[in-house]
């Protein structure tokens, strides 16, 4: 009787374990996100931050400053256009804002179309390079750009100041 009960119990446990297994339904990943399309558009500046990179590196107490309200930065508008899915022209409309990008118009390119890190703005022979601090993702419509300021030393460039700019899509 005990053996029957023992075997029955083992079969019950095995049945429960098997019934707990079920095939996992894996959903399609979908097409890769087109970052250039998410970057393109008209962007208005919402936040400007100045960072003393040298002070940060040395662990000094005064490292960064929110400069958004010190000057009318929020008037600055940047438009990035695509041409056939590739970077095309750009325009900047500073209004009364400091010119965080000095070029008024021209063409823009990226270092990597799939995973861009740097944007190069060109107008004639003049170029300006800005770094992408963050892409607009999902519900977030924020584009983050970073401008770095370095001093040239014999050993190479030394980063002293950076500016981080956050834009909202219009």
């Amino acid at each position: 009787m005990k053996i029957v009960l023992k075997n029955g119990l083992m079969m019950l446990v095995a049945a429960l374990m098997f019934s707990a297994c079920s095939p996992v339904e894996r959903k399609e990943l979908g097409a890769p996100r087109n970052i250039l399309e998410s970057i393109a558009g008209t962007w208005k500046l919402t936040k400007a931050t100045q960072v003393d990179e040298d002070a940060s590196k040395k662990g000094f107490p005064y490292k960064e400053l929110d400069i958004t309200s010190l000057f009318p930065y929020t008037n600055f508008v940047l438009t990035l256009n695509l041409t056939g899915g590739a970077p095309g022209t750009f325009t900047t409309t500073p209004g009364t804002s400091p010119k965080i990008i000095k070029l008024a118009s021209g063409n823009w390119t990226v270092d990597n179309a799939e995973y861009p890190k740097d944007i190069t703005l060109t107008s004639g022979v003049i170029t300006e390079k800005i770094s992408l601090g963050g892409y607009p993702v999902g519900a977030s419509n924020t584009l983050k750009l970073k401008v770095e300021r370095s001093v040239l030393l014999p050993a190479g460039p030394k980063l002293l100041i950076s500016y981080s700019y956050e834009f909202a899509k219009q």
Partner: protein, 257 residues
Amino acid sequence: MKKLLFSIFLISAGLTVNAQNPTFSPSTFTAEDQVTLTVDLTGTGMAGAAQAYIWIFSNPDLPGGADGITNGSWGNSSAAAEMTNVGTNKWSFTFTGTTMFGQSPAQLKSFGFLAKKKDGSSQSPDYKPFFFDPLVFVPTMLRIFPAKVGSDDVVTMNFDRAYGVSVNEQRMTPVTATVTMFDETGAQVGSPLNVTVRSTASTIWSASYIPSISFTPGAGHKLAKFKYKFNGTLLDPSGATITVSSSETEIIFTTMQ
């Protein structure tokens, strides 16, 4: 008595030798400065060696240590770790802390090293710890943010009353800051600029401006430096409000790209 004196002499001699080996040039250095160390390996396992390789490490006996990027592996030191022979059993090596360890000045407190053969078959004892000069923030009455600026940057001038030197500076309530601009010839550019201050902490007032927006140099010239001071008010012994100014300080622009 003779034995005691002899022992004291030996101990003193040992301490003296220890204090002078290794030597550093410059004698004090921060983690961002290039320094050349020279070590005498006489009496160590490396005495008489034809070649010596440094094995260097940061923050010995402290948290946050790292191996030097030139170390290579113990059984095969990298060529970049080879020391320079500067005399019998004397070897030197030049490095910069931040570059050597890939750490920031805030992370780097000290370092240690030993000398070894390329294959690790012989080595000197450890030489440690040697401390980097701290890159310390020194609070002052007048301070700009960022500490180094170009003429296109947002410049924030700060006045901290807690570090006022004169009685007036210790008592005044700043209202404006005055900026006087100069070009590379030392000639004044435009008229002095008065900027309204804002209170940013209990004893700190700040004023911001962008040099290239507020000042235009003459044709063929560029903005080179500026002087600034804070102006404010205080009550004199009779209770009347009087206007006073802080001392003035000069800032030279850094050329940046």
